[in-house]
């Protein structure tokens, strides 16, 4: 059981209600704008978490024709969680590290 909600970490419906963004893949050309708009819509102070190798360095999708770059190329990333896929306990551990 890796239930992160028991730690008070919850998925919300809108970035207006969020404390941070979690990006789980490479940034495609179509999603550059929405990613930046989403970050702008999140109230500060905010954190960006890049989850998995795909988000960190595009992983298997690197140099794909639709891929524009990694998350860090477009928005400032605060926490990186490597792995393909990352271990669930590693995700929970990284999130717990954020909330102290």
């Amino acid at each position: 059981m890796y239930d992160a909600e028991r730690l008070g970490i919850r998925l919300v419906a809108s970035p207006r209600h969020a404390d941070g963004l979690m990006v789980t893949g490479p940034v495609t050309h179509n999603m550059v704008g929405p990613l930046q708009k989403t970050l702008e819509a999140t109230p500060g102070p905010k954190i960006v978490i890049a989850v998995g190798d795909c988000a960190l360095d595009c992983g298997a999708f690197r140099d794909g024709y639709g891929v524009a770059g990694t998350v860090a190329d477009f928005v400032p990333v605060d926490v990186e969680i490597p792995g393909c896929p990352p271990d669930p306990s590693a995700i929970v551990a990284a999130l717990r590290g954020l909330i102290g």
Binding site: S14, P15, R16, G33, P34, L35, K37, T38, E40, A41
Partner: protein, 672 residues
């Protein structure tokens, strides 16, 4: 002649001169003369009502020459004066508003000539003191308003249809009132209210119940209670807006006046089931009215259904008063009837204001469809602010006037609960629940009306181009908004004079139900007090204070201009805003069983692939269940009956001679 008599005479004369002026003048002169003279008439009526209410005694006029046989009997007592005051509160601003409003194609002779007469009839109906005078004035009121409803009959077929519905329903109601009062007068020594009042208590109980039921049906139709309301959501939206304001703010009240006058004054009150009947009629109207207001897309239709709802709330108070007085609790009955009378005056102010606001929107944009509006607050700041005040008042929020009367209403219902009587302990919880639910839904309905109409961005080009209305229209709206605030902050002034109105209904009044000590209201015999001035003043202070404190702390002022959150999409248009329909949709689902919406969803695909959607069409229509399931079948039956009579009356002279012969034979046989 006393001052009050002069007041009534002046009101009637100003109205009459207004009508003549409308007939003989043209152009802007006509608009101004009609507006000013109607306003003077309303002001004179209002002044007379205030004179009566502050204790100058009733105004009595006896004019034997005017009406053959019976003569005209007028007697404005304190009960009638409350209703005259409610009429004047709407009629004076509506007349000023009308000067500017009628410039938009309504400055026709027929319309302008009827308007002052309508106001005079509204002012005089509560002063009628005999059956024939009441019926005469009632009919004058119905006919003048019918002409005004049909004002735009050349332009739109809906207006003609609305006028038909209104004319038919008001004549059916007239028949019911006529039957009730004629039977009543037949059992009394005369037809003056004095005579009826003396004999009212001594009639047989079946006659009394007959008069009660028929007068409830007749006057209830005018008040727009469910299921006799069908004309109201048709006629009020189609009438010119200053007339809608008068009809919704003033005319429907007179239905309540009729119920109070006949049942609890002339008949002197009755068994407990009268009160229970009135209460349940009120509960049904309140809930049904507000549910339809909630889902209405047409701004004026929304307001019209809300009128049905408010008349329902007033009847709940009247019914509760009847129940309390029949079960020997006159003090509580007094609190309930105070709530009813106060709500009548308050409803006149805020519903008049809302209809005038809606009229300005219609004049500026040419549409009544909320789904096409939006962003009007920026384009029409005065209208927007006035509509906001009206919405807050009708939501019963302090510091505006709806709050005080709804507080008193709930108070009177809740305080009856620890009661020994079975009738009270069964009906009052239902009434409290219904009133509370109505209040919540009313807040949602008017959040929708103001939110989708005035906030956000315009949803159609003609709304985008809207501009603020002229000075006279603004004056009308602002003065009613000030009235809403004044009545909300200082209801004491009115509550003190309502005592005299209560004294005119001895069967519903006991002790001193609502006292005001300084600026605090106390309900007699009950715990609890309320100080609207402190609550309202405190709220206003908070609203002013919070931004000031925030600015001093340096928190305010840090502003960031950003795009609305649109799920990250790059194209955002006004079409993606919440509309009135989508705002009401969740509640529409909840109340599916009552509203029975008809909707269809049609998705068309492109020719190349059915995975690509070409267009999505969503249509939702909500029809009034009473109209389709009760009135339409009745109309069909009436039509068939009419067609059958055509067979009897086919124009053949031979057949008519045969009828004459048979009729003569029958008469001879019967008279044997």
């Amino acid at each position: 002649m006393s001052a009050g008599t002069w007041g009534l005479a002046f009101a009637a004369a100003a109205g009459g001169i207004g009508t003549i002026a409308a007939l003989v003048t043209v152009g802007p002169t006509r608009r101004w003369l009609v507006g000013i003279l109607s306003g003077l008439s309303a002001a004179a009526g209002g002044a007379t009502a205030i004179l009566v209410l502050v204790g100058h005694g009733p105004v009595t006029v006896h004019l034997p020459q005017i009406l053959p046989l019976a003569g005209v009997e007028l007697n404005l007592d304190a009960l009638g004066a409350v209703f005259v005051l409610a009429v004047a509160i709407v009629a004076l601003p509506a007349s000023i508003y009308g000067i500017g409003y009628t410039a938009h194609g309504l400055n026709r002779r027929s319309v302008q000539a009827m308007y002052p007469l309508f106001i005079v009839s509204l002012l005089l109906v509560p002063a009628a003191a005999s059956v024939s005078t009441l019926l005469l004035l009632w009919e004058a009121m119905a006919l003048t308003s019918l002409v005004l409803v049909a004002a735009e009959h050349r332009d739109r077929s809906e207006v003609r249809e609305a006028a038909w519905w209104y004319g038919s329903m008001s004549h059916l109601s007239m028949i019911a009132i006529l039957m009730a009062l004629v039977v009543f007068a037949g059992h009394a020594p005369g037809e003056t209210f004095e005579a009826l009042r003396m004999s009212g208590r001594h009639l047989s109980s079946s006659t009394r119940s007959f008069v009660f039921v028929l007068s409830l049906v007749g006057f209830g139709t005018k008040a727009g209670v469910v299921p006799l309301h069908v004309w109201l959501p048709r006629a009020h939206p189609e009438a010119p807006s200053h007339v809608s304001a008068l009809m919704s703010g003033a005319m429907v009240n007179l239905g309540i006046y009729g119920v109070l006058r006949v049942t609890w004054d002339l008949l002197g009150g009755g068994p407990i089931w009268w009160g229970i009947t009135v209460l349940f009629v009120g509960v049904t109207s309140a809930l049904f009215g507000i549910l339809h207001a909630l889902v209405a897309r047409d701004l004026k239709r929304l307001l019209a259904y809300s009128t049905s709802e408010n008349m329902g709330l007033i009847l709940v108070a009247v019914g509760a008063a009847g129940i309390y007085s029949s079960s020997g609790n006159p003090m509580l009955a007094g609190v309930a009837i105070t709530a009813a009378l106060l709500h009548i005056v308050n409803h006149a102010a805020f519903k008049g204001l809302l209809f005038l606001g809606a009229g300005s929107v219609v004049a500026a944009t040419g549409t009544r469809d909320l789904d096409r509006m939006g962003g009007l607050l920026a384009r029409m700041p005065v209208t927007g602010a006035a509509f906001a005040v009206g919405s807050l008042a009708i939501m019963a929020l302090p510091p505006f006037n709806g709050f005080v009367s709804e507080w008193l209403l709930l108070k009177s219902l809740v305080q009856g609960l620890p009661a020994s009587s079975v009738a009270i302990s069964v009906t009052m919880p239902i009434a409290v629940g219904a009133v509370a639910l109505t209040g919540g839904l009313a807040a949602a309905a008017f959040a929708k009306a103001f939110g989708t109409g005035f906030l956000a961005r315009p949803r159609s080009p003609q709304v985008e181009a809207a501009a603020e209305v002229g000075g006279t229209m603004q004056t009308g709206m602002v003065s009613l908004a000030v009235a809403c605030l004044g009545l909300g902050l200082a209801p004491f002034a009115l509550l003190d004079v309502l005592r005299r109105a209560g004294a005119a209904l001895p069967s519903l009044w006991g002790g001193e139900p609502v006292r005001s000590v300084g600026v605090t209201l106390h309900t007699g015999g009950l715990t609890g007090s309320l100080s609207p001035l402190f609550i309202g003043g405190g709220l206003i202070l908070l609203v002013v204070l919070i931004p000031v404190v925030l600015r001093l702390l340096g928190v305010a002022g840090r502003r960031r201009v950003a795009e609305n959150w649109g799920s990250g999409r790059s194209l955002q248009t006004a079409r993606m805003e919440y509309t009135a329909t989508s705002f009401a949709e969740p509640l529409q689902r909840v109340f599916d069983d009552v509203l029975r919406p008809e909707f269809d969803l049609a998705v068309t695909h492109t020719a190349e692939s059915r995975y690509y959607v070409e267009a999505v069409r969503y249509r939702v229509g909500i029809v009034d269940g009473f109209e389709t399931h009760v009135y339409r079948p009745l109309i069909r039956v009436a039509k068939r009956w009419g067609e059958m009579s055509r067979w009897v009356q086919n124009g053949s002279i031979h057949r008519y001679l045969a009828y004459l012969f048979v009729a003569l034979l029958i008469v001879l046989l019967v008279s044997q």
